[in-house]
Amino acid sequence: MNGSWLQRLTEGLGRTREQLSGQLNVLMRRGPDLDEEFWSELEDALIGADMGVTAVTEIVERLRDSAARRALPDAEAVIDHLAEEIAAELTLDAEDFLETSPVTVLLVGVNGTGKTTTLGKIAKQASDAGRRVLLGSADTFRAAADEQLAIWSERAGVPVVRGERGTDPAAVAFDTLARARETGADLVLIDTAGRLHTKTDLMEELAKVRRVVERESEAPVRVLMVLDATTGQNGLVQAKRFDETLGLDGIALTKLDGTAKGGIALAVVRELGVPVLRIGVGEGVDDLRPFVAAEFARALVGR
C-alpha cells in the first residue's frame, strides 16, 4: 500500500487535473528563482487547493520569512519546506479510535459527503479483520438510505439494525445498541442522515441521538465527521457547527481521488484540532485508507 494512494492521486486524473492541479510543478518548471512571481503563483496554487485565503497568506508570509532566514536556495527547497510544515500541522497526537475495541462510532456530516459509503467500507474492512461489527441505520430521512446501508451490510457480511423511514433516529440508535449488548459487537457503526449544519432543529435531533448513544452504549462513543474533499471554505463552518453540537473526534476526508485536493481539511485541523483519520481515494473498499500526514501534505503542494 506504500505510496499507492499517492500514485492513485496522480494516476487516472487525466487531462483535467493536468490543466489546473499540477501548478506547483509548473512553478518548478519556470525555474528556481524566488522572485515575486514565484510567491504570487505559490499563493494561487495553495488557494486553488482550497486551503483558504487567510491561511495561505499567513503560510506564504511565514515561508518567505524562513526562506530568507534559512537561506533556502531555490523554489524546490521552499516547496519541500512547505510540505514539511503542512505535515507538521496535520500531525496530531490523537488515537485512531476506529482501531480501538470496543467502540461505538456515530457518522455525521452534511448531505452528499459519502457517509453511508464510508461507513460501509469501514464495516467491510473491520469485518475482514475479524471484528464483530454491527451497523445501525439512523438515517430515517433520505429515501432509500437504509437500503443503501443494507447493501453494504450484505457485502460486509455484518448485521444491520434498520428503522422505518420517518421514525425517530434516536430510537433506531437505541435499538442498535440494545442489539450490540445482546450480540457483543465490538464495533458499532451508526449512520445518520446528512444535514446542513445550519438547520437548528436537525442539529438538535442529532444531539439527541448522541445523548441516547452515550447513555446506551457500553463501549466508548466517538463521533466521526465525513467531509467531502471538494468542499470549499464552508467546510470549516460545517466542522465548527458539528463540533459545537456533538464534539468531533475525527474526520474522514472523502472524494480525494478527483481533482480536488482537500485543502479545507488543513483549516479544520488547524482550527479545531480534530484529526483526519481516514481518506477516501476511490470507489473500492480498499480505497478508504488511513491518513498519512506527510503523504497528504506532499499531494497538497503537488510533489
Partner: protein, 448 residues
C-alpha cells in the same frame, strides 16, 4: 464568519475621509479587499483575477474617484459586474414543443442530482406538465430506490430498467415509456461518479446522443470549492450542458461556485435548490446571488425564509389575540419557536445587510441559550398558568423554576417582562404611546 464586502471597503475608505480624490493606491487597497471577499466565497482564483482586473479598470474611472461616497460606488460596481457575469436576469428553462420533452440531469455523486431530479419533476408538474422520471443511475447502491421513493411521494411515475441493464438503453426505453403512458416530459437521472472520469463522461455523452434532450442540466453543490471549475469545464467539453442547478443553498456557504461555473463555461445557473423538501427548487436570481457571494445579506431570502417556516394559522391566531391585547405566554412561545425555526439568531441576523457591523453581533453576545431558557420556563407552566400568569404564586414559581432548570429569579424576571410587554401592548391598542419597540424579553434584544 467572514466579513462582508461593504464592511471591508468601509474600513479602507474610512481611512481616506477628509481627503479629496482617490489615488490609484487607494483603489488597489479596495481591490485587495474585493479579492479576499471573492476568494473566501470560493470563487475560483483565476476567475477572481480577471474579475478584479476588470473592476479595477472601472473604478479608476471618474465614477468612483469623483464620488463623495467611493465605498458605496465601488460596492455598486462590484455588485453590477457580478450580477452581469452571472447572467443578468433570470434564465429560464426552455423546452421545445416536442412531446415528450426530454431533460437530462448530470453531475457528480453527492451533488444532489437525484433529489434535484425529483424537485424538477415537481416544479414542472406544478406548471401543468406531466413528467416521468427515468432512473439511469445504475451504479450507486439504492439510487434507483431513492428516485422511486421520491416518485411515490410526488405521485410522479418512475421508469427503471431491468437489473444490470445498460443506462443508455434504460434512457431510451424511458422515453418510449413516457410516450406509452402519455407523459409529456421525461427527466433522466444519470449516474454520477465521485469525480470526473472518462467512463462517466462517455456514458453521459452516449445517453445524450440516444435521447437528444431539449435541456441538459448540470447539478453543482454550492459548497464546492475551487474544484467547481474543473468539474464544470469537463462536463461542458464532453457533454455540453445548457444550464446549472445549484444545490444546498439553504446552507450558509457563499456559493462562489456559481460565479466560477458561469465564468468558465458561459452556462447560466437556472435553478437554485434551497431545502430538503421536494418543493424547494426555485428560479435562480443572479442579483441575490451576487449579494450572497459578497456576504452582503439577502433580505429577500430572509423574508422568504420567514414565510417558509412560519406556521400561518398559528401566527394568525396569535396576531388576532395580539390585536385584542389578549396576548398570552402561549402566543409568546409560538413566536419564540418561529424565530428558532429560522436557524440560530446570529444566522438570521447575518442575513440582514449591515447587521454584521453591529457590535453585539460581531461579539456574538446574543444569548442563544436565553431563548432556550425562556422556552423551557414557559413549557414548564400549566396551560392555565400560561393563559393567566397572574395565578402564578410563590409555590407555583418554585415548581416552574424546578421544572425548567431555571432560578426563581429568572421566572420572576420573565413574568415581569411579560407583564410589561402586555401593558405596552394595551397602550398601543388604546392609541396611547408609541408602538412598543421590541418586547424586551431575554435573548431577543431590541427590534431587528
Amino acid at each position: 464568519m467572514f466579513q462582508n464586502l461593504s464592511d471591508r471597503l468601509k474600513q479602507v475608505f474610512d481611512k481616506l475621509s477628509g481627503r479629496g480624490r482617490l489615488s490609484e493606491a487607494d483603489v488597489d487597497a479596495a481591490m485587495r479587499e474585493i479579492r479576499m471577499a471573492l476568494l473566501e466565497a470560493d470563487v475560483n482564483f483565476r476567475v477572481v483575477k480577471e474579475f478584479v482586473a476588470r473592476v479595477r479598470e472601472r473604478c479608476l474611472g471618474a465614477e468612483v474617484t469623483a464620488s463623495l461616497t467611493p465605498g458605496q460606488t465601488v460596492v455598486k460596481i462590484v455588485l453590477d459586474e457580478l450580477t452581469d457575469l452571472m447572467g443578468g436576469t433570470e434564465s429560464r428553462l426552455v423546452l421545445s414543443g416536442r412531446i415528450p420533452a426530454v431533460i437530462m440531469v448530470v453531475g457528480l455523486q453527492g451533488s444532489g442530482k437525484t433529489t434535484a431530479t425529483a424537485k424538477l419533476a415537481n416544479l414542472l408538474r406544478k406548471q401543468g406538465r406531466s413528467p416521468l422520471m427515468v432512473a439511469a443511475d445504475v451504479y450507486r447502491p439504492a439510487a434507483i430506490d431513492q428516485l422511486e421513493a421520491l416518485g411515490r411521494e410526488l405521485d410522479v411515475p418512475v421508469y427503471r430498467g431491468a437489473e444490470g441493464e445498460d443506462p443508455v438503453r434504460i434512457a431510451k426505453a424511458g422515453v418510449k415509456e413516457a410516450v406509452a403512458r402519455m407523459r409529456d416530459t421525461v427527466i433522466v437521472d444519470t449516474a454520477g461518479r465521485l469525480h470526473v472520469d472518462e467512463q462517466m463522461m462517455e456514458e453521459a455523452a452516449l445517453i445524450k446522443a440516444a435521447v437528444k434532450p431539449d435541456q441538459v442540466l448540470l447539478v453543482v453543490d454550492s459548497m464546492t470549492g475551487q474544484d467547481a471549475v474543473n468539474v464544470a469545464s469537463a462536463f461542458a467539453e464532453r457533454v455540453d450542458f445548457d444550464g446549472v442547478v445549484l444545490t444546498k443553498l439553504d446552507g450558509d456557504s457563499r456559493g462562489g461556485a456559481a460565479l466560477s461555473v458561469k465564468a468558465v463555461t458561459g452556462k447560466p445557473v437556472k435553478f437554485a435548490s434551497l431545502g430538503e423538501k421536494t418543493d424547494s427548487l426555485e428560479p435562480f436570481h443572479p442579483d441575490r446571488m451576487a449579494r450572497r457571494i459578497l456576504g452582503m445579506g439577502d433580505v429577500v431570502s430572509l423574508i422568504e425564509k420567514a414565510q417558509e417556516v412560519a406556521d400561518e394559522t398559528e401566527l394568525k391566531e396569535a396576531g388576532e389575540r395580539l390585536r385584542k391585547a389578549e396576548f398570552t405566554l402561549d402566543d409568546f412561545l409560538i413566536q419564540l419557536r418561529q424565530v428558532r425555526k429560522m436557524g440560530s439568531l446570529s444566522d438570521v441576523l447575518a442575513m440582514l445587510p449591515g447587521a454584521k457591523g453591529l457590535k453585539a453581533i460581531r461579539e456574538s453576545d446574543i444569548d442563544e441559550r436565553a431563548l432556550d431558557r425562556t422556552t423551557a420556563i414557559i413549557t414548564s407552566m400549566t396551560a392555565k398558568e400560561r393563559a393567566k400568569p397572574q395565578v402564578i404564586n410563590g409555590s407555583r414559581r418554585e415548581r416552574i423554576a424546578r421544572g425548567s432548570g431555571a432560578t426563581v429569579q429568572e421566572v420572576n424576571q420573565l413574568l415581569a417582562q411579560f407583564a410589561q410587554a402586555k401593558k405596552l401592548l394595551k397602550q398601543f391598542q388604546g392609541g396611547k404611546g408609541k408602538r412598543p419597540r421590541g418586547m424586551g424579553f431575554p435573548g431577543l434584544g431590541g427590534p431587528f
